[in-house]
Symmetry: C2
Subunit: 350 residues, 2 copies
């Protein structure tokens, strides 16, 4: 099938301008100076012929695609919106294209990776899209990669950009304990293979320990960072003669929605009966009833930092192996506080 474009080539321009294709190319790329006179003639012909350089041919010749890729498990979740926005801003600044694709690594890798060295100069990788093995292989081949919301695969040097989890979670648990006298705090786990979940649990345990509260495995349930699954997990928990509890760390905001639904159905009041806090600070979270106290994660900044890091990589610059973007606590009402306020990061430093 033929190209849909009018396909006027550099040769057509050259012929009509009475120069060689090479000269047109040089005028176009600006690599080598061209005489003022011929430059004007070329420009005139280009305008007249509505010439547009064929990017693909250029890519083949230069061996550069001028595009970077973003691999996500899906697009339906609003969590990704600011992430994509942050990336796109940087990408368009650099006059690059952004290639988007979904992929889940659990599909047994039968499907080929839709974005890679063949169509993008580098890749931003979200957990669950590429296996460690695939990442390491690409990295070893010298292919620029940045992982987000996870650490580098062991043994690799792939830079990692993520929001700080441990201290943030510890701080919000501290708040529950110190300001609201809570001590029986349910922890809602995310997917077992998701690092964020692991680190948040770390922060949870450390806060408990700091306050001399014993860890109780009975208070640990699994919500998979998912609204519906968290709802189910919470309902089951409530209907199975649960141990006493007075607060819930929901794992993330999405889970908090399902959890508050489950509590409501059982006639449990938030925050009077139990405090609920989340993690992420999605757009939604301030509209929940009651408004959700949560950790503000700089999702858009994760996106822009990742993109910038990738471009640094492309430019051959040195980049940090791991970047933890600062978070802050957004106090709203679901913890029991009367007024909304912000606990900036510095107060988090212990």
């Amino acid at each position: 099938m033929a190209q849909r474009t009018s396909s006027v080539t550099i040769r057509d321009v050259a012929r009509k301008a009475g120069v060689s294709p090479a000269t047109v190319s040089r005028y176009l790329t600006g690599t080598v100076p061209v005489s003022e006179e011929t430059a004007q003639r070329i420009q005139a012909v280009m305008d007249e012929l509505r010439y547009t350089p064929n990017t693909i041919a250029r890519q083949l010749a230069t061996q550069r695609s001028h595009a970077i890729g973003l691999l996500l498990p899906d697009f339906s979740h609003t969590f990704f919106t600011p992430l994509i926005g942050g990336i796109e801003a940087v990408v368009s600044d650099e006059r690059y294209s952004l290639l988007l694709a979904t992929r889940v690594s659990t599909e047994l890798s039968n499907k080929p990776v839709p974005i890679g060295p063949h169509n993008a100069e580098g890749l931003i990788i979200f957990p669950g899209t590429l296996s460690d093995q695939e990442i390491i292989r690409l990295n070893k081949a010298g292919y620029p990669l940045v992982v987000i919301y996870r650490s580098s695969p062991s043994g690799s040097t792939v830079p990692s950009i993520t929001a700080e989890n441990v201290r943030a979670t510890a701080a919000i648990i501290d708040h529950l304990i110190e300001e609201h006298g809570r001590s029986r705090i349910v922890f809602v786990r995310g997917p077992g293979d998701q690092e964020d979940s692991h680190w948040r649990e770390q922060g949870y345990r450390s806060s408990l320990q700091d306050h001399g509260i014993e860890h109780d495995e009975q208070l640990m349930i699994t919500g998979m960072f998912d609204r519906t699954l968290a709802y189910r997990a919470m309902s089951e928990f409530l209907n199975s003669d649960p141990p006493h509890f007075d607060a819930i760390f929901a794992g993330n905001d999405d889970s908090a929605i399902g959890i508050m639904d489950a509590l409501r159905e059982e006639g449990i009041h938030v925050p009077e009966d139990v405090s609920v806090v989340g993690f992420d600070d999605m757009e939604l979270s301030s509209f929940l009833n009651p408004p959700l106290t949560t950790v503000h994660a700089p999702t858009e900044e994760v996106g822009s930092s990742a993109a910038r890091c990738l471009f640094d990589l492309l430019a051959g610059k040195e980049v940090a192996q791991a970047t933890f973007l600062p978070t802050e606590i957004v106090i709203r009402r679901s913890c029991g506080c009367p007024h909304e306020r912000l606990l900036p990061l510095k107060t988090l430093n212990k």
Copy 2:
């Protein structure tokens, strides 16, 4: 700068397998049968060498980029999330790539269009990204285009996919009048150049007329489909000795948020004092306080329909010139109804 990939080419495979590059290509594309024996040998060598076909070279040879593009004014708004999701699903089904870019046509067209014939086989266009002139030019050149949330530029045959506006708006205004006895209904306009806003006003006026209610220009304000701007517009309206009103059609859900904020600040209760309804049914809307009665717009379906339409175009099939996707009314609480329910489309048929 050299390609980052290991760059093992079809020639390397051919050499090692003892065949010609052409045979390898044939095996790869499956256009012409290859003997079982050589096929296996080729596959073995490909595995061993970890050969990946170079998409760019293939694109140059076939004159097809195997990608389609989506042009949006920005990515930060969650309204776009389901839209992108709908498109991506179809695109990946077709084993195509999705190219994403932002662009605003008001930048005086000084910036070149980031996606076009040079890197995508077709384009899905959101209002405000490409001028009518640019659209018509691409269309005349035979370049496959689909516009969404707007009609085809006059004189062009670009297919258009959009959510039905007029009947839906009329129906929700009907509801306000008939079920809640409202008659002084404020209409919050969107951007003047946005067709959706125009058609919704059409529906509003028609419902008023059907009920013998006179149109009052004093009840028309402009919220630009934007949360913050709608808030400001509403605040000004309230503070400027406004005429009596008992309901508000917010233009869209995002504006409804700002409008309810403004009302709240003035101590006006929704829905007791005034009913508020929106348009879109964003994820957020059911979480508002009170939950927003609104028109459910099938945003994800607009995306998937647009993508499917574009692929039909690519396949040379006939496509509908204009598609209006059905909407339905989602009754929640901001109108004054006690219970949530759905008014499906059929009840909308007059």
